[in-house]
């Protein structure tokens, strides 16, 4: 009887685990593709070097040229399939949710291209900002040749090389700031956009935040670890003293 009770308790506990797993799956299904980056990944190691179209002088010798990305999205009467198109080096990508591209008479697919650009010839960003890394042009047309019509915003994802706080879209001669989310661990920024065009990450014109703050925090953490170890030893010594017969 007790073993049956234990078995029931174990099954109940396992059901809680299944519920937690289902909650996690639901959360991932909901947030994808709103947050199309690596989940849980916080980038504890330096990333691969950024690939510049026009590298700064200090990295020009080792720079590898950035790569483009292209893909075809099938269209059904409900619109496009859920698809992501990413450059071959993973530095930029766009995500279309199911039905994002409107169906069009005679069109059976859409062609999407993501091409890196040197931002220097492009219009200057708003005052106080500098573009961080390459700009990327996203072109998307139906197979009949016309530009696509978006029914649901697509998501643009860019990797930045140094420090970015904004994702900008070039409309005509003007940069527009999108409602962006930053993933510092993987140096990525992403935002929803209701049209294709040219995109670039941007940050404050000044230098990036100083790294010494982090070292100070790490030093404080080391001191804390030392204090914890000392406390444990002290407790063990007290226990030894308390256990010794007088």
């Amino acid at each position: 009887m007790p073993s049956t009770r234990r078995g029931r308790a174990a099954v109940r506990e396992f059901m809680w685990g299944a519920a937690a797993a289902a909650l996690y799956l639901g959360a991932v299904a909901y947030t994808w593709p709103l947050a199309p980056v690596r989940i849980l990944y916080e980038g504890e190691a330096p990333p691969l070097p950024y690939r510049w179209v026009h590298p700064p002088a200090e990295v020009s010798q080792d720079n590898q040229p950035p790569e483009s990305g292209a893909g075809q999205i099938a269209l059904s009467p409900q619109g496009s399939q859920s698809t992501s198109i990413v450059t071959d080096d993973g530095q930029a990508g766009v995500i279309f949710r199911f039905g994002a591209i409107a169906p069009r008479t005679g069109a059976t697919s859409a062609q999407v291209k993501v091409v890196p650009l040197d931002p220097a010839p492009l219009p200057r960003p708003p005052s106080g900002l500098r573009l961080d890394g390459n700009a990327y042009r996203v072109d998307a047309t139906y197979n009949t040749g016309e530009p696509i019509v978006l029914r649901i915003p697509m998501t643009a994802v860019l990797r930045y090389p140094r420090h970015a706080t904004m994702l900008l879209r070039l409309t005509g001669e003007t940069w527009t700031a999108l409602d962006a989310h930053i993933v510092p661990g993987s140096l990525q920024i992403f935002a929803g956009t209701d049209r294709v065009g040219v995109f670039a990450a941007a940050g404050p014109a000044g230098p990036p935040p100083a790294a010494w703050i982090g070292y100070a925090v790490a030093a404080a953490a080391v001191l804390g670890a030392a204090a914890a170890i000392a406390a444990r030893r002290l407790r063990a010594r007290r226990r030894d003293v308390g256990g010794t017969p007088a």
Binding site: P36, V37, E42, P46
Partner: protein, 181 residues
């Protein structure tokens, strides 16, 4: 004798709370990975996580009565957790540049360190209020710092079901590796 024990308990409670605060602060303040500020120093982000993991392993945790289930339950909890993360990974196609072997190794170390901190220390600190506050509280702090509440609940359940932090640590490591594939 009783006074000495009470003093020792108070000191332990203080050190546990201080260690939790310190670890959370360090994780929240760490900068993203990048080239070291000074040559010869390891990457700061990983260094902070490793130190926080050391705090998680060494800091005193209030003693609580916890059942230690058998190997089958431990394996079942590990299997369920890994299956959940594998299924979630199959739902997504994360965008990101290719990762290096160093990044893969770092993410494994970070997973173990974070679990030592959140599921050993933070969970143990909160377990006096019962398992539900411990699971939820550790998951909430995990969500504030490394931003994933639902994953923290899965790890917390594994901590509860197995009575230790090795199953969540292995699952977290597997989940991180799955993101890099």
């Amino acid at each position: 004798m009783g006074g000495m024990c009470a003093r020792a308990d108070r000191a332990r409670t203080f050190f546990t709370a201080a260690a939790v605060l310190l670890g959370c602060g360090a994780l929240a303040a760490r900068p993203p990975a990048g080239p070291p500020a000074w040559a010869g120093l390891p990457d700061l982000s990983l260094l902070v996580v490793v130190v926080v993991g050391m705090i998680g392993v060494t800091a005193p945790v209030p003693p609580h009565h916890e059942s230690r289930p058998g190997r089958v339950q431990w394996l079942a909890a590990l299997g369920l957790g890994v299956a959940a993360f594998a299924a979630a990974r199959s739902l997504t196609a994360p965008i990101g540049p290719p990762v290096t072997a160093l990044a893969a190794a770092s993410t494994l170390v970070a997973a173990v360190a974070e679990e030592a901190f959140f599921r050993r220390l933070v969970y143990g600190w909160l377990a006096g209020g019962g398992p539900a506050p411990a699971v939820a509280g550790a998951a909430a702090l995990f969500a504030v710092v490394p931003v994933d509440l639902a994953a923290g609940i899965v790890f917390g359940w594994q901590r509860l079901a197995t009575g230790g932090w090795t199953a969540p640590a292995l699952t977290h490591a597997a989940a991180n590796l799955l993101q890099l594939i």
